[in-house]
Amino acid sequence: MGHQPFETIVEAHHGEIYRYLVRLTARTSEADDLSQETFLRAYRAYRSLSPDANVRAWLFTIATNLARNHFRSEKRRRRAHAAVRAARVEADSTSPDGETLFNEARNRVDGIVATLPLKQRAAFVLRKVHDLDYDAIARSLGCSAESARSHVFQALRKIRRGLADHAPARLELQP
């Protein structure tokens, strides 16, 4: 079995990787740069990838590593958090509905997620948004599956507390 053309990899996975990086960085401009770098690196290494490798998990690993390097700069991280707290709207006049929904959701959960340490944030997004199993998350983060699960649960713990502080009545009303 040979490799699919790289164009089909872009077609199949770019949107998802971009959305993942938006959630990690909280800024579309940084997600733009990091998703581009993810696919350029993947392009260079694609032919040496085993043909039966899980390309999707591999791309998430590259994206996660790039995001980790990106956030190593504390200055950048603080700037990203400030951007989330300010709930800055990145204007897009062509899809106001999507934008409204996006920003509304950011105001509630994204604000909490963005303050998580990167490993917890990445593990949580990979699990809860992209449905990766713990083995794949572990490979992306360079840790054990047990640690990956622990990162996700730790994130859930913080989100529960954050939401309970923000809207305790609403949470308690649920069965």
């Binding site: 790289f6 872009v10 770019h14 949107g15 971009y18 959305r19 938006v22 579309t28 997600a31 733009d32 998703s35 581009q36 696919f39 350029l40 392009y43 260079r44 032919r47 040496s48 990145e90 897009d92 062509t94 899809s95 999507g98 934008e99 929904l101 996006f102 509304e104 959701a105 950011r106 509630r108 959960v109 994204d110 997620v113 809860k128 948004v129 699960r149 649960f153 859930l156 713990r157 989100i159 529960r160 939401l163 309970a164 609403r170 949470l171 308690e172 009303l173 649920q174 069965p175």
Partner: protein, 322 residues
């Protein structure tokens, strides 16, 4: 902390796992038993379950479609640029030392003698503004054909060429003319310049062949000095030129520490290109620049190139003796 029992901390992992549907049956039972007697943990379990509803909106939220499209478009432009700059290469052992073969999507771009080197340090690829990617399968096939050629079992390397590494359009034109010199034949730098319609450009032709990015495939080893001297090849590797010509049945002599092809003892292609003659054929006396002609080392070589014996000098009846 809402928990009020010492075993609450122990149950927390199971509690979350049960809320998000990841608990095994034993953990579920432990949680059920615990929350039945611990109201605060029961409340937390309900909160964790409620989070799933809150996450649902968050999960479906997506960055603006136009931003995704913009990022995709930018990526495709950058990938196209990278693609155009990327060459796949492999390095192989050969009787002529290690050889690097590099290809683009359009064809073979580089064939390089590396001597004993086994990496890119001594390659032109290391000094060009290009992406070099070590790659396998398609180049392996080229290598096999090259080996057949070097062992004399193949006369043609019909490889698509990508002459992007030639230094100018003039160099590319020189390479195209040179590619047409048949197997088992030689001509001079002046002959190539003449065929190019630039008879005075002998030195420029020599320079273009010196930078030939695909030797052997574009057989610059078949271009020799007007005197028959081999002159240079791939820097100072004239010995390689001797071996390549010998493989094709061209006789080489050593005289005054110089390697030369005995032009006077070779078959000559007629200027109309259809016949081959003995060097003593009468029409040759009327040729102004006999050193620009194409010469064959053997009748077999000439006939394999599609030439017929001249009806006047009859090289088929009076072959040259070695």
């Amino acid at each position: 902390m809402s928990r009020n029992r010492p075993d609450c901390a122990d149950i927390e992992q199971d509690l979350i796992a049960a809320a998000v549907g990841e608990a095994d049956p034993a953990a579920r039972r432990r949680v059920e038993a615990h929350v039945a007697r611990c109201a605060p943990c029961g409340g937390e379990l309900r909160q964790y379950r409620a989070i799933d509803g809150a996450l649902d909106t968050w999960r479906r939220a997506s960055p603006p479609a136009a931003a995704v499209r913009r990022a995709r478009k930018r990526l495709e432009t950058e990938l196209e640029r990278l693609h155009r700059r990327t060459l796949a290469y492999r390095i192989f052992p050969s009787p002529l030392g290690n050889i690097l073969i590099a290809v683009s999507d359009h064809g073979v771009s580089l064939l390089e003698y590396l001597g004993r080197a086994r990496d890119l340090d001594r390659s032109r690829l290391a000094h060009l503004d290009l992406e070099a990617r070590e790659d396998g399968a398609e180049i392996e096939k080229l290598y096999r054909e090259l080996m057949e050629y070097l062992e004399g079992r193949r006369r043609r390397l019909e490889w698509p060429l990508d002459l992007r590494l030639a230094r100018s359009d003039f160099h590319r034109a020189v390479l195209r003319i040179t590619a047409g010199i048949p197997y088992g034949a030689v001509t001079s730098y002046a002959g190539v310049a003449s065929a190019l319609g630039r008879p005075a450009a002998t030195r420029a032709v020599a320079q273009a062949l010196r930078w030939n990015p695909v030797p052997i495939v574009v057989p610059c080893h078949r271009v020799i000095g007007a005197s028959g001297a081999l002159t240079g090849y791939a820097g100072n590797r004239v010995g390689l030129k001797e071996r390549l010509l010998a493989t094709e049945g061209i006789r080489i002599e050593r005289a005054d520490r110089e390697l030369r092809v005995p032009r006077e003892a070779m078959y000559v292609r007629t200027t109309d290109g259809g016949y081959y003659c003995l060097p003593s054929c009468s029409w040759l006396g009327r040729v102004r620049h006999p050193n620009r002609l194409v010469l064959f080392g053997s009748r077999e070589g000439a006939e394999a190139a599609g030439l017929r014996p001249c009806g006047e000098c009859r090289p088929d009846l009076h072959p040259l003796t070695a």
